[in-house]
């Protein structure tokens, strides 16, 4: 029976080449004996044969990575199992996705064991500093993995600890990294490494970060099994930490609240004294007051109040519905998609946004969370009513010659009714104090109209309304 010797270094690549050759030559799994390294040969084996040259065999990618991992498993049967599965796979590539297949299930379990072992090596290997030979600092570690993973892990440590020299010794294989070069060496016994002062600091950290009121020993052990403890400097502290936890937690609960130190009152007083009441009568002061508004529940969920923006003496006041997602985050009105559409059309008809005071009927964003997004919700009559107070305050400060009300909510707040906006648009009504209010559609409505023809018509109307506003302003000036 032909025996294929898979070398101890470069195992995964060698197995892959051998398997390719055997498969290409049509050698069934029962006719191959696999041997790891040049150790004790099988009693029934022939002299090691040179496997046939690798042929062209295509297998699913997922098998290649499975085999790459599995070759480092410590089970002597791994090569045979892999080859037997590969033999079945060559006629049925879809086998890789069959989670019910018993052979594959076994291989997956083994693969998981290797992956876990690798992961634990990344996590639990501990370096100690050793005297340096050249310019670079040197570190060394002893680790006892369950599988033959020192070689496949060398790259990870080289990518991570690129600017220092290091040596990792495991029973099966050692890896040295010197001046940026990786060398694979024979394994060895536990080396005698010098003490490292940082282990005491690390153990201090480990003790202090532990919360004795949340003792969960099982959870710790399932992730950090005891077999690793002997090579972890911090693990020596564990038994005492567990033993003392209960008492420490009880002590904390039993301790009566203490009196605050003297400086506390002084500091707190100084802090609370910093809030000076805002001077009334200007837009900034109004903004500060509105930031504390609790007249309706919308303040609880929104990020911030979004007040109007523009010159204090603006002849035109533009009122939209409410801030959207983007406005809520940025704290400024009309900076989202609807605002950008407005800017485009306004520029077309010669309406200067910089000379207008831009604001909303409702100052907080109302929304419904849906997964990773926030879905806009229309404010109800109560919310519009509550916020009217702020819109009124803005209007009294700015005293515009004309108000452009965009959409039903703005119309409702300014004229008392938001009904029938499609038929009222393009007309001028009056606000409570008599300021003319020109009604139009809300730009976000234009973004939402599904039908192309209807959208075009709505755009035309909107453009016409903005032109009316521009003309009225020119006449008033």
């Amino acid at each position: 029976m032909p025996t294929v010797v898979v070398p101890e270094i470069g195992t995964a690549a060698a197995w892959r080449d051998a398997a390719r050759g055997l498969l290409g030559a049509g050698v069934p799994p029962a006719d191959v004996l696999w041997q790891f390294g040049a150790g004790d040969a099988d009693l029934f084996a022939d002299a090691p044969a040179t496997p046939p040259a690798p042929g062209q065999v295509s297998v699913p990618k997922s098998f290649v990575s499975l085999a790459e991992n599995l070759c480092w498993h410590s089970d002597p049967q791994r090569f045979a199992r892999l080859y037997a599965f590969l033999w079945r796979l060559k006629d049925r590539p879809s086998l890789m996705t069959d989670r019910g297949d018993a052979d594959l299930a076994k291989l997956r379990v083994m693969e998981k064991a290797v992956s876990r072992d690798k992961h634990k090596m990344k996590a639990f290997l501990r370096f100690r500093e050793v005297p340096k030979l050249g310019d670079r600092r040197r570190f060394a570690a002893w680790f006892e993995p369950t599988h033959h993973i020192a070689e496949p892990m060398a790259g990870f440590f080289a990518r991570r600890f690129g600017d220092m020299d290091w040596l990792i010794v495991t029973p099966h294989r050692s890896v040295a990294f010197t001046d940026g070069r990786i060398a694979l060496l024979p394994g060895g016994a536990k080396p005698d490494l010098p003490d490292d002062a940082h282990e005491a600091l690390w153990t201090t950290y480990f003790r202090s970060i532990f919360n004795p009121a949340r003792l969960k020993v099982q959870a710790m052990q399932s992730e950090m099994p005891k077999k690793y403890w002997k090579n972890l400097p911090e693990a020596a502290a564990i038994p005492e930490m567990i033993a003392g936890a209960e008492a420490r937690a009880r002590q904390m609960q039993a301790a009566a609240p203490s009196l605050p130190p003297l400086r506390a009152a002084r500091i707190s007083e100084r802090l609370s004294g910093q809030d000076t009441p805002p001077p009334a009568g200007d837009l900034d002061a109004l903004h500060r007051q509105a930031a504390a508004c609790t007249r309706c529940p919308l303040h609880r969920d929104a990020t911030q109040v979004v007040m109007g923006e523009g010159p204090r003496d603006a002849p035109l006041m533009i009122v939209g519905e409410q801030p959207g997602d983007h406005e809520d985050l940025a704290g400024r009105p009309f900076v989202g998609p609807a605002g950008q559409l407005f800017d485009r059309v306004a520029a077309d008809v010669g309406l200067d946004r910089d000379r207008a005071f831009v604001t909303n009927a409702v100052k907080h964003f109302k929304f419904q969370p849906r997964g990773k997004r926030r879905i806009h919700q229309r404010p109800d009559a109560g919310e519009v009513q509550a916020c009217k107070w702020w819109l009124e305050a803005e209007r009294q400060l700015v005293r515009p010659k004309l108000i452009l009300a965009m959409g039903a909510t703005a119309a409702e707040s300014l004229t008392g009714s938001g009904k029938g906006i499609l038929s009222r648009r393009g007309t001028v009504e009056a606000a409570e104090d008599g300021t003319p209010v020109l009604l139009t559609l809300h730009p976000s409505y234009l973004l939402r109209v599904p039908d192309a023809a209807a959208k075009e018509a709505a755009m035309r109307d909107f453009r016409a309304d903005l032109s009316i506003a521009a003309r009225m302003l020119a006449e008033a000036a």
Partner: protein, 411 residues
């Protein structure tokens, strides 16, 4: 006061940092130092380098720059009115500890937080300096998580995001009212605004300019926050409502729930109770159902009593027990969204079911191999060779999962 040595400072300032639950080091951009030009790597998945007996992973060096603080938050061990021993690291000490721990493979990086000294800007500037020097002077490529101070100036937050992998700002408590009463100097509005700024800056960092140049990376591992559970009276429905809003508003990577735990030198304002660990666990389960299993908030809270999750059984099972008319499901035919609702099936199991059933009719035994927990799932599914019969609708189904009631002691 005697001068503290490094060991003592480390003990004080890590003890003060342990109430922050986050220790994630995953999900950031890939970096390495194979060419010897620096130290450290990040390769996608996080690594837990140790576990403390509280079951929590230790992935980062989680410390406070200082535990001096001018704020007086009742739940916090570092509040100004507490008598804990105070200490302060110099930026050099933090940098050296991080690098030396990293070289010995103890940690994935640094999680730096701080009490507020002098002013929010001063404190934030010191933290940013530490991150900047780690990156630029020491070429450190490991993970950095900075806790941002809500009131700090925007340019400091922006610089923090350029050096750090993750930024976080804690909302602390589930409602604005409790933040105001327990953390009088903190403003929930300012906290939300800071999270909004982080989201906007991160989104802006993805836009290329007209020359195709990409702005510098900003917090590639995103932002997260933490809520303390059990310190105020908020119920689970309120807490989960708050987290759905936070996820949708600020694109958070995670909301951490931290069971309020007794602290040394507690305030008279807060009850000292055993931390509600089971409740914390159920909240995480519900959080996962909301984000990865297609559950709506009302479905989860609909299966609660008085707005609190059932502590004895998990929230998915609680939902399934109340909605038995959807079950049993045929694992060989049911759509993905329904399979995700079967108690005992995780996302991986469902994916395996979907790929495998293209090859064969699934049998009960196949499901075990796919990682399903059939103890839970069996009452809710049919498969080849398995039907739950009357089990699905049996009156005592809940009792099969819940731990048996404890006999009350007479004494």
């Amino acid at each position: 006061m005697a001068k503290l040595d490094l060991q003592q400072k480390l003990a004080i300032l890590s003890d003060a940092a342990k109430y922050d639950a986050s220790c994630a080091s995953s999900g950031t951009s890939k970096r390495q130092s194979r060419d010897g030009s620096g130290l450290g790597s990040t390769e996608g998945s996080g690594i837990c380098h140790a576990y403390a007996p509280d079951g929590r992973c230790i992935s980062l060096l989680k410390i406070l720059m200082t535990n001096f603080c001018i704020y007086d938050c009742a739940y916090c061990v570092n509040r100004v009115s507490s008598n804990v021993t105070r200490a302060r690291f110099s930026p050099e000490e933090v940098i050296q500890l991080t690098l030396e721990f990293y070289r010995r493979n103890y940690i994935e990086g640094l999680f730096l937080s701080s009490g507020i000294i002098k002013s929010p800007d001063d404190t934030m500037a010191d933290m940013v300096r530490i991150a900047r020097e780690l990156r630029q002077v020491h070429n450190f490529r490991g993970y950095i998580h900075l806790k941002t101070i809500p009131d700090a100036a925007p340019h400091l937050i922006e610089e923090a995001g350029r050096h750090a992998d993750r930024l976080s700002i804690n909302v602390e408590l589930p409602t604005d009212a409790s933040v105001k009463s327990y953390a009088p100097e903190k403003d929930p509005g300012t906290i939300r605004k800071a999270m909004a700024d982080v989201r906007l800056t991160k989104e802006a960092s993805k836009d290329r300019s007209h020359t195709g140049k990409r702005p510098p990376r900003f917090a590639p591992a995103g932002q997260s926050t933490q809520m303390i559970v059990g310190a105020d009276g908020a119920n689970d429905a309120t807490i989960l409502g708050q987290s759905t809003r936070l996820y949708s508003s600020y694109k958070l990577k995670r909301v951490y729930y931290s069971a309020f735990s007794p602290i040394p030198d507690s305030s008279a304002k807060l009850p000292l109770i055993r931390p509600p660990l089971e409740r914390e666990h159920r909240l995480y389960q519900a959080d996962w159902l909301l984000r990865f299993y297609g559950f709506g908030l009302d479905e989860i809270t609909g299966a609660t009593e008085g707005g609190n999750l059932d502590l004895q059984i998990d929230p998915k099972l609680a939902w399934a027990l109340q909605n038995r008319h959807h079950f049993p499901l045929d694992v060989n035919a049911a759509p993905r969204e329904m399979l995700l609702r079967v108690p005992g099936f995780g996302v991986k199991t469902v994916n395996r079911i979907l790929t495998t059933r293209r090859h064969r009719t699934l049998r009960y035994e196949d499901l075990t191999r796919m990682g399903a927990s059939l103890k839970k799932a069996r009452a809710f599914i049919t498969a080849a060779g398995w039907t739950p019969g009357a089990l699905t609708d049996s009156v005592d189904l809940r009792a099969r999962f819940a731990p048996p009631p404890e006999q009350l002691s007479l004494f």
